[in-house]
């Protein structure tokens, strides 16, 4: 009886496995933040299922683990992260918990989006005296839409390596994305061209790539050092500078203290503009291009109103 029982159990297990096989045919992709999730879905289409770890309204520097995130990472074929130390505070322990060799650093399933991107703000001396400065450079490079081209091509290459049969689909999705990106880039540059050289204040050095791409200057921050909450003397200096140089637009993200921004803005009748670096935080921004679109429109409107 015994071998028989074992045999039927094995058969049962095999049936179960084969029953689940078609469902697992789609590549399981995990993205740390939603811009990579949105791009992965756009490039992968039906051939991938995408899970995003951080909520778009959550500070990407600090993410608290939930069970589903560890399960998703345990089963993932591919993990897309921003890199440049953005997720350094929470991704390593999640990876430890997930025990998945396919997505460890250096594995073929690991996409580090910052690879191949020219980063700004790389500190000359790699010490910690400059605050939570990322030694690798400023990790908010996806806010220069031109960098998204490098990232989608990187994602498509990794998808193709995992799913060669989908290569044609991925390539045509990349091509379609790039056509739309180029059209939008012209639109965005035109919308912000009238404000070339204008300064804006931001809470954190999030918008350095964005401003450089569109000819704005975002070099004044409410944080005295990246990651350090504003101190009164620093805020006083910022308000002084805003008055002296007539800076009247201040960008704030969902997880940054809006009250502080409003108090600073009030001193110079500046406008506080709600923006976000992640698709999904602002209604109507489910894709990456929609997100940049809304941010460009909001910044252009605010600059126009303050002219």
């Amino acid at each position: 009886m015994k071998p028989n029982l074992r045999g039927s159990l094995a058969l049962f297990a095999a049936t179960l496995l084969s029953a689940t096989a078609p469902a697992s045919a789609a590549l399981k992709v995990v993205a740390t933040t939603s811009e990579y999730g949105a791009l992965a879905a756009e490039i992968g289409g039906d051939r991938v299922t995408v899970t995003t770890i951080a909520k778009p309204t959550e500070d990407p520097h600090f993410v608290d683990a939930r069970p589903s995130q560890i399960v998703a990472m345990n089963r993932a074929d591919i993990l897309i992260e921003g890199g440049a130390e953005l997720e350094i505070g929470w991704l390593p322990p999640l990876l430890d918990g997930a025990r998945n060799a396919k997505i460890l650093a250096g594995a073929p399933g690991r996409v580090v989006a910052s690879a191949g991107v020219q980063l700004l703000d790389i500190p000359l001396a790699a010490d910690r005296s400059q605050g939570d400065t990322h030694v690798a450079g400023n990790p908010h490079f996806m806010l220069d839409p031109v960098n998204s081209r490098i990232v989608v091509e990187h994602i498509a290459r990794v998808f193709e390596a995992h799913d060669p049969a989908g290569a044609a689909t991925f390539d045509s999705n990349v091509a379609s994305f790039e056509v739309r990106l180029d059209a939008k880039l012209k639109e965005w540059s035109a919308a912000l061209a009238p404000f070339a050289g204008r300064q804006i204040v931001t809470y954190h050095p999030t918008w350095r790539y964005f401003s450089r791409r569109f000819g704005l200057e975002a070099n004044t921050f409410l944080e005295p050092k990246p990651g350090i909450p504003p101190s009164p003397p620093h805020l006083a200096r910022v308000m002084e500078k805003m008055r002296a140089e007539n800076i009247r637009v201040l960008l704030v993200e969902p997880y940054q203290p809006r009250k502080t921004a409003e108090a600073v803005a009030a001193h110079n009748n500046a406008l506080v503009v709600d923006v976000c670096q992640f698709p999904g935080a602002i209604p109507g921004t489910s894709t990456y291009l929609e997100l940049i679109d809304i941010v460009v429109r909001r910044v252009a409107q605010a600059l126009a109103a303050q002219s």
Binding site: P67, G89, D96, R128, D132, T133, G227, P229
Partner: protein, 282 residues
Amino acid sequence: MDLFTLWLWPLVALIALPAILVYFGLHVVGRGIIFVDLALAQIAALGIATAVLLGAHPDHGVLPYALAIGFTLAGAALFSLTRFRHPRVPQEAIIGIIYIVAAAAATLVLSRTAAGDEEIKNLLVGNILLVSRSEVLRTLALYLAVGALHYFLRRKFHLLSFDTEEAERQGMSIRLWDFLFYATFGLVVTSFVRIAGVYLVFSYLIVPAVCGALLSSRTAARLAIGWGVALTAGVTGLLLSTQWQSMDLPTGPTIVCLFGGFLILSGATAFGRSRRASKSAS
């Protein structure tokens, strides 16, 4: 079943580690010093912040660890010195003051350093889902040592917390014993906060002890009830949050809410019992 692969070490942590917290909880509730755990954890944070100011990286090296322990011991000394026989000032007030001053001092110290506030918080406040094997084993070894000490000296510690006059009559040095109590308590609390966070440490200390106090007047029974409540709430919470995937509940808060449910259940049982007792008496 991913319970024994993905969630093995959280499960082991929730089964093995809280026992000693329940024991300390009986003392803490008996003494009426409910917030002393948070104050000690905050003092340890001040120690780590100071290490960062001195140039250490908060994540590795001996200095942060040594200063966290050193500050915890200093805090234990402070608490043992501020227990007065005829208190004009309740000790809970002093605990509150120590907590808030330690928290503010840590902010001041960190404002002089480059590390963000959040970085220290991340280090101090763990997430039970991410606990590693070595963390669980190291902490378990510490708890076994502290547990053995308290087991052999259980009569002394019991007198110290519940019958101070008798302890004095027996010639015990209250301040010295109090220091030993707070020092071991501080080590236990600080290491558990690192694994599981502030909410869980507070729940494990207070709720099982209160449930025990509601349902029995004997110390041994209270301890047994407390252990039962702690084990059930912890394991059920982990199962609910990991196996009920459509809900995707964060583990720590799920366990804390289960504790709240257990407290209501204990309260209702105690209430029903006392009504029956008064009815049969009349």
